[in-house]
């Protein structure tokens, strides 16, 4: 009897140590941003569509796997902190923070493109006399440093031959910057679509944006922690497939209005999404592909970040962009030819 008990205990111990479990108990997904009023809802891409559908939750419900979604008001840097402390398995995040983290040794792989041509806007108080970026030289410009807004803004001014030192750059979160532009504590703010509600209220106006300038715009992605992917590749594939369905739905022009309505649950109104998306076909904007444009742009952003000393060392971007799950997912869902490939300049090649 004693030997049998010992055998059972030993078997349990070995099972526990070797981690024979096929599935994780929980899947932890982070989002680099929050909605208006710090609500845990986002908008602007198919990542928020799948979250609204609870698509990943439903995918794993039958397996008894819990899915935990965490929205970070500290945006990309907060996602990095959570990743570094083993609090997340997946993250929807923007370009700069992911570059910083990867260069610093965070073991991540990008597995889906989330959005591209993501414009930034430079807003000023309505009372401001500034009419162009040039008018802001020497003035206080709020940028949420560490996020992809920072890198896009540097690209925006670099394209005009200027340096960040030509402006008084102040680090502020988006929410703080919105408040500061109302109180007049800053002369301008670099933002995403959250500037549109201020414009609607007549308290701010946009003097510059990067719409239609792919190389001065932002990228975002879905990443996975390498350890999780190595242990649960089948789970990663299912997350990718579910996300691809949302991407395909969101890329369909027939669903544009419905997507906007879903995104307004974030607290940012219809005008924000129309202003930020009406100018471009969704099939380009919501493409999950790691095509030539996406890869080239990420390499360009890495080089820019290194030049600006935002990132300390280079790394192999092509190896970082792991397209195995993407390709398998496109094949599984018969979506191989759904999204157009785009060349390095951001133009469709087929």
């Amino acid at each position: 009897m004693k030997s049998r008990i010992l055998a059972v205990v030993a078997a349990l111990a070995v099972t526990s140590i070797l981690g024979f479990a096929d599935n994780p108990r929980i899947i932890r997904i982070g989002y680099a941003g929050v909605g208006s009023g710090n609500r845990p809802i986002g908008g602007g891409s198919y990542a928020n569509i799948q979250a609204d559908w609870a698509a990943i939750d439903n995918e794993f419900k039958a397996d008894g796997i819990q899915v935990k979604h965490t929205y970070f008001s500290g945006a990309g840097p907060a996602v990095n902190e959570a990743l570094a402390n083993n609090q997340l398995d997946f993250a929807w995040q923007g370009d700069l923070p992911a570059l910083v983290a990867k260069a610093g040794g965070l073991p991540t792989k990008l597995i889906l493109a989330n959005s591209r041509y993501d414009a930034i806007y430079v807003g000023v108080p309505t009372s401001s006399t500034a009419k162009s970026l040039e008018d802001l030289k020497g003035k206080r410009v709020a940028v949420f440093k560490g996020t992809n807004l920072q890198l896009a803004f540097y690209n925006l001014i670099a394209a005009r031959g200027w340096k960040d030192t030509d402006f008084k750059i102040i680090n502020m979160s988006t929410a703080d910057g919105n408040a500061a532009i109302l109180s007049g504590d800053i002369d301008a703010q670099v933002t995403g679509p959250d500037i549109f509600p201020l414009v609607d209220r007549g308290v701010a106006r946009i003097i510059s944006d990067t719409k239609g300038r792919p190389k001065e715009s932002r990228l975002s992605h879905l990443l996975v922690v390498e350890g999780f992917a190595a242990k649960y590749p089948q789970i990663v594939q299912r997350v990718v497939n579910v996300s691809l369905k949302a991407a395909a739905w969101n890329s369909d022009e027939n669903n544009r209005g419905k997507a906007y309505q879903i995104w307004t649950k974030s607290g940012f109104g219809l005008s924000a999404w129309k202003g930020d998306h009406d100018w471009i076909k969704l099939i380009y904007r919501e493409s999950p592909l790691f095509d030539e444009f996406y890869r080239t742009q990420y390499k360009h952003l890495l080089k820019t970040a290194i030049d600006l000393k935002l990132v300390r060392r280079s790394f192999d971007v092509d190896a970082w962009l792991d397209d195995r799950y993407l390709n398998q997912g496109l094949k599984d869902l018969k979506l191989e030819n759904y999204w157009p490939q785009q060349n390095a300049e951001g133009k469709p090649v087929r």
Partner: protein, 514 residues
Amino acid sequence: MHTHTRSLMAAAILITAPYASAQEAPSDKPPKTGEPDSSKSGGGKDVTPAAEKGKDETPAAGTDAELQKLKQEVKELQERLDKSATDSDIQGVQTDLENFKYQYQRDRDTKSALSNRNLLITGLIQSRYGYFGETINSPVPGNVANTSVNNPPVLHERKSTFDTPNGVVSFSGLLFRDYEKARNLGFNFSVAESPASSNFGAPAATTGAGVSNNNAFLTVLDANVVYQALPTIENDGDRLSFTLGQQLAPFGLEANTTEELKPVINNALFVAPTTFNLRQVGLVAKGEFLSQYDFGYGYRQSIFAFALGVLNGNGPNRDDDNGYKDVISRVAITVPADYKSWLRELRIGGSVYQGKGNIVDANNKYLGYGQKNRYGYDFYYNHYPFGFTYEYVRIADEVLGGTAAAPVVARFDRLGQTATFFYSFGEQFLKSIKSQGKFDDWWPKTYQPFVRYDSYVADRAKSDQKIKILTAGLNIFFAETTKAQINYNRRVQDNGLLPKVTSNELLVQLQFGF
């Protein structure tokens, strides 16, 4: 086409265009696998994303069906206009607005706390239960574990007690706000409940006339102004501040850690003899240089930090009592490391305090100056989820000794050492998790077990002057400003003046703030 019809069409196009894409009801369900039609792909079209900016699509018109459709839309729009606000509606809104303005002004006048300047009010209260291994009688023994602050004059066979050892209300804010560089002038003011016969934070007297009654009153803790001499508008800059007034002396780790962050209920044994648990009055400069801010993680580190100050040296709420000012200095070096590095938040520090105190006899007759020097070094490593701290302190005191008939200056060389190890299960100490978007009053529940070794030698010249307390405990963080603490203390007394005993106590405390 009839002129009126063309006008209607144009009006309809203009009015309906902005609504066209947003009027559809969203589907509540995701599409099934393969639902997207690949024929809808934009691939192959010679339209670049850049070229699409500002492009308007004009609907084709001209057929009767379209004309009928437009007429219908115009009719619907007319119906909408018919439903527009009437004068009565507008008057109603105006009335509501006036009511709101009246109510707002009245609430502000009668129900709002007002302040001349920017003000933050916070507070902290501790509510505790203690169970003692020894039965406590008067006079309260000093050699057994018996953590209690508000002892009544007479104790008889006490085994346990409820206690409210700490209650602090703090006010802070900015007297001058520099919008350009954030070279701000701020202030701090706090008061605490205090047993009537002892200074706040000091061990309460347990025998004789010093035993406290229940007439606790408020004592001023912090009362200071702080000027930031360097810009603080950015996270990555150096810092230099000057603090004038009543404040904690910047010595070591234990005495400077606020109650919110202390893992252990009781201070280390050496803190009371150094008097660093008490506020001091003076001027202190603090600086952080060679600072780095990792924007990728929102992580700030200063490789070199210092503090340098002059203080009265005789405690809070008192003027100086002699011709000397006490001097305090501290230097801390943080190992430069990336956030991801295992070296993150590894720091060593050293502190020196040199002062003089008046030596007086029982009749308050001045006998001379006595040395009041303290030296220490510390090690700090807080790398989530675990942390380790160690602190070594030497105390050189010259105080009144001998007898009342033949008083002498006695010199004591005291030594304190404390080491704490803690581990966190939960995300209480992760800034990112705490600041996540949430609908309700969610807070990351965290369990933090810890162990501490604490020893104090009251006189190194003697071999039997040691007290040792081993503590094992658990902190449970379950709300934003509230934590439950459980501490088991095992006190080993090896003091030649008192019976050598080993005793135990269990403390359970709820610490909550606002």
